[in-house]
């Protein structure tokens, strides 16, 4: 038997209408316990209105070693940002 509980990633929605955001991880024996632990560990100061938990083992992450080929090519391609348009004055918050 594995004596260590598996790791879970915790996502909290801070207000209705907002996205769930990753806030940390914790150990729990199963999903039900993970929700309860997340409630105690991450929402005791009114941080949230909804919780998601995902087994950490189910997350596939990009390889930090590959960040060169994955992300750097975007650095010098400013034309991909929609910043070259003339906006009407009425639009304040673009």
């Amino acid at each position: 038997m594995n004596k260590d509980w598996p790791l879970w990633e915790v996502f909290i929605r801070s207000k209705s209408g907002l996205d769930h955001r990753h806030c940390g991880s914790l150990h729990a024996a199963d999903a039900k316990m993970a929700i309860e632990n997340a409630r105690d560990v991450y929402t005791r100061r009114q941080e949230g209105v909804s919780i998601w938990v995902v087994p950490s083992s189910q997350i596939t992450a990009s390889d930090p070693e590959a960040s060169g080929e994955l992300f750097e090519p975007a650095l010098d391609k400013v034309y991909r940002h929609p910043t070259f348009y003339d906006l009407p004055d009425a639009l304040k918050h673009m």
Partner: protein
């Protein structure tokens, strides 16, 4: 409202909360440590509500701290269940669950109290206690249905703790008077909820509900086990050493 009745309500969460606070930093895992500490803090919040009410009722400049901390052992009205020590995690969970199974129907009844201030305190507390009950009953089931050792420890804890549940429903003079005034709880109506709850949770946990006999010593009347003396030595230290200190 009867002053002694408020003490009866305040002292159970006070002493149980103190027992839980002893585990702060010592919980079996970080997550359960925080959960138990959260429960202790919820309970202390409830204690403050009762003690503030009691202090106002008493008058003569009495403060909530004096109500909570400056009484002699025989003046504390908590049930013996809440002063039981933290032998192991199964004891902590068993003690918590048995108290929650009592606390939940108690607050449900007090929410309909004719005393509107008491009803307000109960309505505020009941959401917290619903979560306590959820936490403790889940753990009773997990330990009861877990490994051979966790099952054996959970059953052993319940075998010991069960004898203290009789006292929960023994009515004192003050409780009788408050019940008849429509202010306090009616144990006759609460008992079936407690029994049904215990039957379901023990069944799901694969545990056997122990037989009597029930203890006849009554913490509610101020007759305590030696445990309370040690608790009070800790609990009262600051107020005895630095009288009227404020946090």
């Amino acid at each position: 409202m009867n002053y002694q009745y408020l003490l009866l309500l305040a002292d159970n969460p006070l002493i149980l909360g103190h027992r839980l606070s002893e585990l702060c930093g010592h919980g079996p895992t970080l997550e359960t440590d925080i959960a138990l500490t959260n429960i202790a803090l919820d309970l202390f919040g409830q204690v403050r509500n009762y003690c503030q009410y009691a202090a106002e009722l008493h008058g003569e400049g009495k403060t909530e701290d004096q109500v909570a901390f400056l009484r002699y052992e025989h003046e504390y009205r908590n049930v013996l269940l809440t002063e039981q020590p933290n032998h192991d995690f199964a004891w902590v969970i068993g003690r918590q669950y048995l108290f929650d199974a009592y606390h939940l129907p108690l607050l449900t009844q007090l929410s309909d109290s004719k005393d509107s201030r008491l009803a307000g305190i109960a309505m505020k507390s009941i959401k917290e206690v619903r979560y306590h009950h959820r936490f403790s009953s889940e753990w009773v089931k997990r330990l009861g249905g877990g490994t051979e050792e966790s099952h054996q420890r959970m059953q052993a804890a319940m075998d010991q703790l069960w004898s203290y549940t009789g006292e929960l429903f023994l009515e004192t003079e003050d409780e009788k008077a408050m019940k008849e005034a429509g202010v306090g709880a009616d144990y006759g109506k609460m008992r079936p909820h407690f029994d049904a709850d215990v039957q379901q949770v023990f069944h799901e946990a694969g545990l056997v509900i122990p037989e009597g006999p029930w203890h006849r010593t009554i913490g509610k009347n101020g007759v305590h086990s030696e445990n309370l003396g040690y608790i009070l030595a800790d609990l009262q230290y600051m107020q005895r050493t630095y009288p009227n200190m404020e946090w």
